[in-house]
């Protein structure tokens, strides 16, 4: 039958750039990356086949393991921190306060800034010989110590703090939209029932906002996987390799250490992880129960 395709031929043409991008820039590169990860490529692609060798080496590399652990620690602190802090901000802002927009603006502005900028500023602020620690010591508390940035076992938390500083405003914005969407009558009902406000938040509102929490979590989680600029600007991976992350691992091996095979194996692992985590969410958000709109 003639119709559907011809009718939308203009649409197909309009989508051509999208198709090109999807096929070449997305699917093509992903396929290529996966293919290369099974070769012994150093700088220039060689198309031999070495099986799982790169993956074996990858998981035998300390730095990758540490990167993975860091990603986990950072991810957990960052996501939980952002959710809790962002939620608190949203709740407090929702209390019919004065100058609401001023506070909202302050809480969200870091999100408009580059990770490079964020990283530098926090690096300076938390540098023990220069920043908070030194300042407090100058005030007279000579024993005050806050040197997490230079301690291998703590630096990753500093990165998480900087991340939380930057992104909790985002969570606030999302949850605030959710809070504003809560039926006012629900509040009235709870008041008539005599339920204290904090309990309403805890028992009624939080469960209601769970879709927003999920969305925020997904957004934060993808930021976690991509985290690179922040580490570069804040610690450069140091002290030692204590704040290395997978994204930095890939870039380093791709460009500095000249082992593209290993780098692509690492990025393939990242890709698969993201896919596994994300696919169900994407499906439920955008494709399940989708009702056609016809054309």
């Amino acid at each position: 039958m003639k119709p559907r395709f011809f009718r939308s031929i203009a649409a197909q043409i309009a989508l051509l750039p999208a198709w090109l991008i999807v096929i070449f820039a997305y699917l093509g590169t992903i396929a290529w990356t996966i293919r290369i990860s099974f070769t012994s490529t150093k700088v220039f692609p060689t198309y031999d086949f070495v099986g799982w060798k790169q993956y074996e080496r990858l998981f035998a590399t300390d730095r990758w393991i540490i990167s993975g652990q860091n990603l986990f620690i950072f991810g957990a602190c960052f996501i939980i921190g952002c959710l809790i802090f962002g939620f608190l901000l949203a709740v407090f802002i929702d209390q019919k306060i004065r100058a609401e927009s001023v506070f909202r603006t302050i809480f969200l502005y870091p999100y408009a800034m580059s990770f490079i900028v964020t990283g530098l500023v926090w690096q300076w602020t938390l540098n023990p010989t220069l920043g908070v620690q030194q300042t407090v010591r100058n005030w007279g508390w000579q024993d005050f110590t806050f040197d997490w940035l230079v301690r291998g076992d703590r630096a990753i938390y500093v990165i998480a703090i900087a991340g939380i500083w930057q992104a909790s405003g985002l969570v606030m914005a999302i949850l605030l939209a959710g809070l504003r969407g809560v039926d006012q009558e629900l509040w009235k009902a709870a008041k008539v029932d005599g339920i204290p406000t904090w309990r309403v938040y805890l028992h009624i509102i939080v469960p209601m906002l769970s879709p927003m929490f999920v969305t925020a979590t997904v957004l934060l989680a993808t930021a976690v996987v991509k985290v690179y600029d922040l580490v570069i600007a804040l610690t450069g991976g140091g002290p030692g390799i204590s704040t290395e992350v997978p994204a930095k691992f890939v870039i380093d091996y791709l460009f500095n250490r000249q082992n593209v095979g290993l780098a692509t194996a690492a990025s393939t692992v990242m890709f698969v992880t993201v896919l596994v985590v994300l696919a169900p969410w994407l499906y439920s958000q955008y494709f399940r129960g989708q009702r056609g709109r016809g054309a």
Partner: protein, 389 residues
């Protein structure tokens, strides 16, 4: 004029002054130097940018590498022009240090123009600081630590160390050669001999390296190498392990190397490390650019430019037919050692960037984490050596 876009990572004060000498010489010879400095990571960022451009088919006229294996694959892929015509005409083969020459030769062809010989394994010290603490310049590691203790007691930072991983590797190599010796160094980096790593000699090296951690200060993280060097220039710290480019900073600060700042090559076993920088010249289709490359090749190794550059840079010229009378006291020490054959080749010459990266990770993570013991360190180096075979 022939434009030459040159990628390099010489961005600190002394370095910038040095590279300016090349630029001036090239401009004087009728070219036009287009500076493409990329800061950061001990050259990581610059090499990334450069390799990407070469891979991407938009190569710079010339780009900097460290003397060694970093540009191996560019050669294998046929992306670099051989320099033999210029080399023959300019007599490189006769006048360039043979170890350096070997490091830029692949299959009998020269693929890079070496511009300097850098020695990484210097120990710099501040005579003023030592004097204040009542210590004297060490001749072995025990004396070194004794001096360190006195400095500590005097409230002076014993060792000014940068937080960048590559400077910690440099410190490690200092210890390895100084305390372990040339043989151990080669066994590990060249022969990739696991037994050597597990030997008592290496254990001693590891212990010394571990002990060094206690002589650094908490400002190490986030400090760059030149800031560390500045600390001994100003007498804030006693010692600093750094390559001979530290002299550039010393000179830039208006001080004299050898007197205002003391220098010791390879504490314990006096050795001269041969490393340095080279420029490669990527193949390109533009005849103008090729012309510029030829001119640049010639200028870079011209005796005058060599002297001017190396004096600022703190390194020594690669040619032996240049006027060495103006070199400073430290460089003179180095040249003497080289003449005596007390030389080691740099790790960049011996191992690939990939393996070198693994060493860096292990060394840096050990050095910045005091909870790790020297046994942990030995084990991690052993596994790298094992895996690199």
């Amino acid at each position: 004029a022939e434009k030459a876009e040159v990628i390099h990572w010489w961005t600190s004060g002394g370095e910038a002054a040095a590279v300016q000498q090349f630029a001036a010489a090239f401009n004087a010879a009728g070219g036009e130097w287009v500076d493409a400095a990329v800061a950061g990571g001990g050259g990581d960022a610059a090499r990334t940018a450069g390799i990407n451009r070469i891979v991407g088919g938009n190569p710079p006229t010339a780009m900097q590498f460290n003397t060694g294996k970093q540009f191996d694959e560019l050669v294998t892929q046929g992306l670099l022009s051989p320099l033999d015509d210029v080399a023959d005409a300019e007599g490189w083969k006769q006048h360039i240090n043979p170890l350096v020459l070997a490091a830029v030769t692949r299959d009998g062809k020269i693929y890079a123009a070496p511009v300097n010989i850098h020695s990484n394994i210097w120990l710099w010290y501040s005579p003023a600081a030592l004097e204040k603490a009542g210590a004297k310049a060490p001749t072995n590691w025990d004396e070194f630590f004794a001096a360190g203790d006195k400095l500590k007691a005097a409230g002076i930072v014993p060792v000014a160390q940068s937080g960048d991983a590559w400077t910690q590797v440099l410190t490690f190599n200092n210890v390895l050669i100084g305390a372990g010796g040339k043989d151990l160094y080669y066994k590990i980096y060249k022969d990739l001999d696991v037994d050597a790593v597990k030997s008592p000699e290496f254990k001693k090296v590891a212990d010394i390296f571990a002990k060094l951690r206690d002589y650094t200060d908490s400002g190490m993280q986030g400090r760059q190498w030149n800031q560390a060097t500045a600390m001994i220039v100003t007498g804030q710290a006693g010692f600093n392990f750094m390559g001979d480019w530290a002299k550039g900073e010393v000179i830039a600060a208006g001080k004299t190397p050898g007197t205002d700042v003391g220098c010791i090559p390879g504490l314990g076993n006096q050795e001269f490390w041969i490393g340095g920088d080279v420029f490669v010249f990527p193949v390109n289709k533009d005849p103008e650019a090729t012309k510029a490359q030829k001119l640049l090749e010639k200028v870079l190794l011209s005796p005058e430019a060599q002297v001017a550059f190396n004096n600022k840079k703190g390194s020594i010229p690669v040619r032996d037919d240049v006027d060495l009378s103006k070199v400073d006291a430290c460089a003179a020490q180095g040249i003497a050692l080289a003449k005596a054959g007390n030389v080691v080749e740099s790790t960049d010459i011996l191992i690939s960037p990939d393996v070198s990266g693994s060493f860096t990770d292990a060394i840096a993570s050990f050095f910045s984490d005091k909870s790790k013991t020297s046994d942990d360190f030995v084990a991690s180096i052993a596994s790298i050596v094992e895996g690199a075979k």
